[in-house]
Symmetry: C2
Subunit: 428 residues, 2 copies
């Protein structure tokens, strides 16, 4: 048996994910030797507070100085699980330039500075791996870069935020309102103390930017993603959706169309029979459409200590194999196309529109007339029985450019017979 | 820009899959250059009949002599899509020994001779890739070998045969009987002229053997898989299952338990809410359970010209990248454990049992008494109204070792009050 190559890891961060990675690498060390022919160990861990108790982690590996990792020539792989833009960005670039491979779970960073990081990795011939940055434990980055590399991918979309999917599941299955469901999500640890990034769709938006960049080989950043969260959704919308045979999910959608890339996060009505409709609770799932593979879907846990550590450890093993074979940097993530991102106003969608209107003759004709004048075809209309002189109208439209739809909304808003535009939700 | 490395492919077989691979490689050539820095071309194609018209494939690349590929030192990758054991086995070994990398879709071969092929590849430091052999276009081999490599995988299971899933979908959704659904599947091209390998579960069994070997790093062959097909299922069973909130799917299941590996293919009742329940028509889906990732699922098209070509082309791109980086053979598939396969008699399952019995007092007590005497706990019993002095009983059991269950069946069969044991189906 050949001698095992020693591979040392510098771990940045020992929070939930970092702790999971530490434990998993310890637990799998012997197996990893058999799989990779290398002996992997976490030789240094960068933490903020050296005085804090870290059960299971020897004090000898802890440091609060980044230089202890950066300047340690025995460290082959830096694993960054601290999150946020700085100092992560500077340190990752320093690590790559110092000839280290990097594994990260940092979606904020890649969604903004991906191009710079990919280029730095390429220039240094090092691995820069980030399976954990999108959909936690679910393999999606490697399938996009490798397994499906023979495809022209035209769409990537899915449920990429577990917190909001948990909230929507409670609203849908238990008839809860948004606030109630959010409170339960917080209680169970699915929602953070400040849930903004999740419920406003920012977290999903970052993942969409990363997936779109890789799928379309073009440069898509967080700022390119058109984002709407779930805070305005009501139990009533979900009930109405059900009556149309639909469920409401927060979908991240990236499409490569003839007129450019569309990248968005929105609540969307999807068919009850669509595989994504059965993705419940905190689970994630990503759909990929390629010209050869047709539809493929990847499902699993999008967050959590061990699911995320699973993805990080898979990347560490990949880097270790590449180090052992002398072929780090073998796959580039750099964009080789330059496809424009379509202006949001030009994007076509189908819409679900719920309106409170006066209950008098001619109102329906007025509302549908405004839609017709703005090039909006209607596929279904339901009007509920009037209460206190007000009726509720639910309208499903055909595909329409957003600017035309918004023009119609402005006019509807000004009509005296229209009391309130209660909801506007996209339909997949 | 560095000069592109030329990579030549020898393609064995130009049937449905081979034709798809040829077209896809042609269509993607320029993209593949950007992704891999290599210029890939199919320089020779081995066919049986040189006289047959092959639209789109120049006659100059065709040959009916295997030696023309084997002895061509310019050929770096041999792609085998002929199927069957021989001559594929001999030729793949010859190719690997001649220093070529091999990509194949041949599940029959790997399920039987995987160990030999993996070893030959390792000895030669060459890639032996077979993503297309399991679940067609769905990435599952690479996720098991790479993305989920940090996990101790304890279970892999799923719908890995599209023909039978199509038949079961028609039986379930349209109330068809097996023969009728099979006829439609044949008409649509989902079932072959001789559908035996599909409907008897052999095809699924081969995929289970391959997945179990990779997931558990042990050697599991086709002969180790306990197999039952779907030919005995009736529309009535499916109706009864529905009444219990279940659907019937043909599942391939591989588990690594404390007492050894279980590997099987059986019709199984699964919960209507299980993600696999919504896998319809000819789609496939594979569930993986790992200690870190928890549950992950991979869904898509398990067969067909382009989905399969997608997987083969992904492997070709992988081999091309490894050739360009000088690191072929970087990941071994060889088993490093030797876990025994559990005897089928020792496997524990829950069962659904449908019996026709005489409609007289004491029969139910007799039947349930036999089960109880054989260590079988009952979780649910339904008895239908009697017709012509016969009643139908449906019993759902708790987990029981197969030998105890079979002992009970023998006794039930001999009871005069039991007219017929109509169905015995496992419950997940």
């Amino acid at each position: 048996m050949p001698e095992l190559k020693n591979i040392n890891i510098g771990l940045m961060g020992l929070g939930t994910v970092g702790g999971g990675v530490y434990k998993l690498i310890e637990r799998r060390q012997e197996e990893i030797e058999k799989k990779t022919g290398t002996h992997i160990q976490i030789s240094k861990v960068l933490v903020r507070n050296l005085d804090k108790e870290r059960p299971g982690v020897p004090a000898s590996v802890l440091t609060d100085r980044w230089e202890d990792i950066l300047e340690d020539d025995d460290i082959d792989i830096v694993v960054e699980v601290t999150g946020g833009i700085e100092p992560a960005r500077t340190r990752i670039i320093q690590a790559l330039n110092a000839g280290k491979n990097v594994v990260t779970a940092n979606k904020d960073l890649i969604a903004e500075y991906g191009a710079e990081l990919f280029e730095t990795a390429d220039n240094n011939g090092k691995d820069f791996l980030f399976e954990a940055a999108v959909a936690g434990g679910i393999p999606i980055i490697r399938p996009l870069k490798e397994c499906l590399a023979g495809n022209e991918i035209t769409e990537v979309m899915g449920i990429v935020n577990g917190t909001t999917n948990y909230i929507l599941t409670r609203m849908s299955e238990d008839g809860m309102d948004f606030d109630e469901a959010l409170a339960i999500a917080a209680e169970l640890g699915y929602a953070e103390a400040d849930p903004t990034a999740d419920i406003e769709g920012y977290d999903a938006g970052r993942k969409v930017a990363i997936m779109a960049s890789l799928a379309f080989h073009s440069h898509v950043t967080f700022a390119d993603v058109d984002i709407e969260g779930i805070t305005k959704l009501t139990a009533k919308d979900i009930k109405f959706a059900e009556n149309f045979g639909k469920v409401i999910k927060l979908l991240g959608i990236a499409k490569n169309t003839d007129e450019g890339i569309e990248a968005s996060v929105h609540p969307v009505l999807i068919d009850r029979n669509h595989p994504l409709a059965s993705v419940r609770d905190a689970f994630n799932a990503v759909f990929v459409h390629g010209d050869a593979v047709d539809d493929a879907m990847f499902y699993g846990r999008g967050a959590g200590e061990f699911p995320t550590a699973s993805a990080v450890t898979g990347d560490i093993i990949e880097a270790a194999r590449n180090i052992a074979s002398g072929c780090t940097g073998r796959i580039s993530c750099a964009a080789y196309r330059d496809i424009p991102v379509k202006p949001a106003d030009e994007v076509k969608d189908k819409y679900f529109l719920r309106i409170k209107a006066a209950d008098r003759p001619g109102v329906m004709a007025g509302v549908t007339g405004v839609l017709g004048n703005n090039q909006i075809s209607i596929t279904q209309v339901v009007q509920t029985a009037a209460v206190d002189g007000e009726a509720e109208m639910v309208i499903m439209t055909d595909e329409v450019r957003r600017k035309h739809f918004n023009d119609a909304l402005i006019i509807l808003n000004e009509m005296s017979s229209v009391r309130k535009i209660c909801s506007v939700i996209r339909v997949y």
